[in-house]
Subunit: 147 residues, 6 copies
Amino acid sequence: MFIQKYFEEFQLNDVRQTKGRTITETDIVIHAGQSGDFFPHHMDEEWCKSQPFKKRIAHGTLIFTVAIGLTADFVNEVSMTYGYERLRFIKPVFINDTIKVTVTIKDLKDHKKPEYGLVTELVECFNQHNELVMLCEHILMVKKGNS
Amino acid sequence: MFIQKYFEEFQLNDVRQTKGRTITETDIVIHAGQSGDFFPHHMDEEWCKSQPFKKRIAHGTLIFTVAIGLTADFVNEVSMTYGYERLRFIKPVFINDTIKVTVTIKDLKDHKKPEYGLVTELVECFNQHNELVMLCEHILMVKKGNS
Amino acid sequence: MFIQKYFEEFQLNDVRQTKGRTITETDIVIHAGQSGDFFPHHMDEEWCKSQPFKKRIAHGTLIFTVAIGLTADFVNEVSMTYGYERLRFIKPVFINDTIKVTVTIKDLKDHKKPEYGLVTELVECFNQHNELVMLCEHILMVKKGNS
Amino acid sequence: MFIQKYFEEFQLNDVRQTKGRTITETDIVIHAGQSGDFFPHHMDEEWCKSQPFKKRIAHGTLIFTVAIGLTADFVNEVSMTYGYERLRFIKPVFINDTIKVTVTIKDLKDHKKPEYGLVTELVECFNQHNELVMLCEHILMVKKGNS
Amino acid sequence: MFIQKYFEEFQLNDVRQTKGRTITETDIVIHAGQSGDFFPHHMDEEWCKSQPFKKRIAHGTLIFTVAIGLTADFVNEVSMTYGYERLRFIKPVFINDTIKVTVTIKDLKDHKKPEYGLVTELVECFNQHNELVMLCEHILMVKKGNS
Amino acid sequence: MFIQKYFEEFQLNDVRQTKGRTITETDIVIHAGQSGDFFPHHMDEEWCKSQPFKKRIAHGTLIFTVAIGLTADFVNEVSMTYGYERLRFIKPVFINDTIKVTVTIKDLKDHKKPEYGLVTELVECFNQHNELVMLCEHILMVKKGNS
């Protein structure tokens, strides 16, 4: 569970893939309840029939939450989240779609504090048709091993 | 509930403020259950005692979810989310902290599709001590009224 | 679980008392998520400090839901809810208050359909200080045994 | 979010309509968990097949909770709930039905405290076939503006 | 609700049957969130299609939880759970299956503390096709009435 | 996530330890809602004050669910649960206790199907005072590697 993976151990272009998860109506209802966002796009099947996408769609923040959660396997004790860039929702996710995440190391650079480096992970979330539905860059601040 | 606010109606530097919301232990437990992220930072009070922050902290994705949810008041029928930039978690949010969001129009520019413009909202989330805990830029793609 | 208690078997002034239940912060958060009511009275501890009641209070619909739920012990196969009258929220219910319900048969009368009678139960909900916090009249439409 | 709408500003026969909301299986399961009412009408699909209504139906307290929640848009700082009258469940609500609420000002009268008036809102809840499924009268105690 | 049923009042081979309950997708999603078990057997519909059972199945701990919950009707003030033996998951439970429990008194014996006896209940859980899906032995430590 | 660990690879007396998890009031409320068990031991703080244990305690099925969930880290594709034996609740778990699980391989034996073996894991659940609160034996049916 707990690991110590230092900055020098991250390899550019390394790729890992997560388990999949089916996005259910339950997830959307619980997410509305947590976020307070009861917009008809997520909660009103009748209204959605009148829209281009025809049926209820998952909240963007739900897909982001589940996608990031899928990547959270090991606790790296020498790493912390610095932030996220370029979060994009490319395609809607519908009830019963199954999503899966690919994480690719896209950039490695020094941080102004010399004992840290910045790791940029490209997080790409795909549905069961292998269509990209969401992407973002997750920037991690990771300790250097020699520090 | 439903409004039509076109690109031309957004004013640079306009500010609005949301209601507040107390982040409860319940929110964290439900968010762990939704995200699948049961990291000890959020779920293990004993382990947290051994860490610099001393007690359980909210998931970043929870604060992002609630903050964006707080801003979701009216359904603007001529606007959609384009994406988010520069999401940063500045300070930890603890159980029983109360957060509130300020939204400032920071940028307005044309989109390559001439009938749309891009609106950048700066989303700043503060705790009850008026400390900034999270910020991001929310980019909206908004129809132009003359299109 | 399943019983058949006919109109003639209800006795005026009969009283029964339910189990108790502590109203938790979790109940309020889940109820906000179910109802979509995130009013600061229930969700914003800081705002509540500026109000006469000083702390978060349970939604009226939560207390009604739990109180009626506490009375739901046996499934009476020959009875159905006709409606409720005079629902009143007498005192606020705070987090960690424990409520308990007393049900008294207050009225028995014929229904226009001759095979049914109307039973009026007075539902009184008390907190741990034995203060009345909510009351209503629950009207049941119950089959007559000789029908 | 926060408004101050005084008694004198309410107009008899004014009507407003809420957003819609689809009642999901999730809502019923969460409501059973909140109310403690696990009656087979809501929780046992097999048993329901043997009943006149043939499938699971939503709890009355769930429909009341969601309907009242749908009406909770603005926080009127000079108004509070006095109570509810004549709550009736006219037709069953099934999983995947979408409900919507119409609120009509039906009565305006003085309260014994001279600085308050009583506003009676007729709350009517319709399904996607425009059938009335629930109604009640919501009585509000509202400050007079000249007080 | 509260009863006092002493050891001597339990009869070998007595049988009681509970209400039924439909196991929903919601139950599985909430159970994943409570247990932290997001194995693809329960959460990934696409992966399940590649498995012998073809669709998502309920967690064993969910079926155990619901089955034991179905048996919890009266609070016997002179009884407590000693433990469970021989818990077996005989067949998978799928979304929308309806389960029901039969409890049979299988064994009655003395406890080393002379004022208690041990009651063994055979708990059998059946689906809507009357197939046994789970069983266990629930051992209760019950006060003797003459003690 | 997915591994293939065959029967021959299990070593008698091997021990692994899980992350910890704080049992919250939220967990108990959600578990009551899932199990349908609203016994006052878990839900009525006032009643609990009159009992030997003085405060609300977690459901046995909740502790079993969380403990087993904590052990579910890797999906072993060649293993399945055969059942559980000797489940015992040794001490009550209170709100805010933190539990952690130790798993020890206690027995390895052949199964009647020659291509499988039975692995018995002793599952011991401890609180933050290192007191044993629950134990059980988890029996796994695991493929042999040479089959």
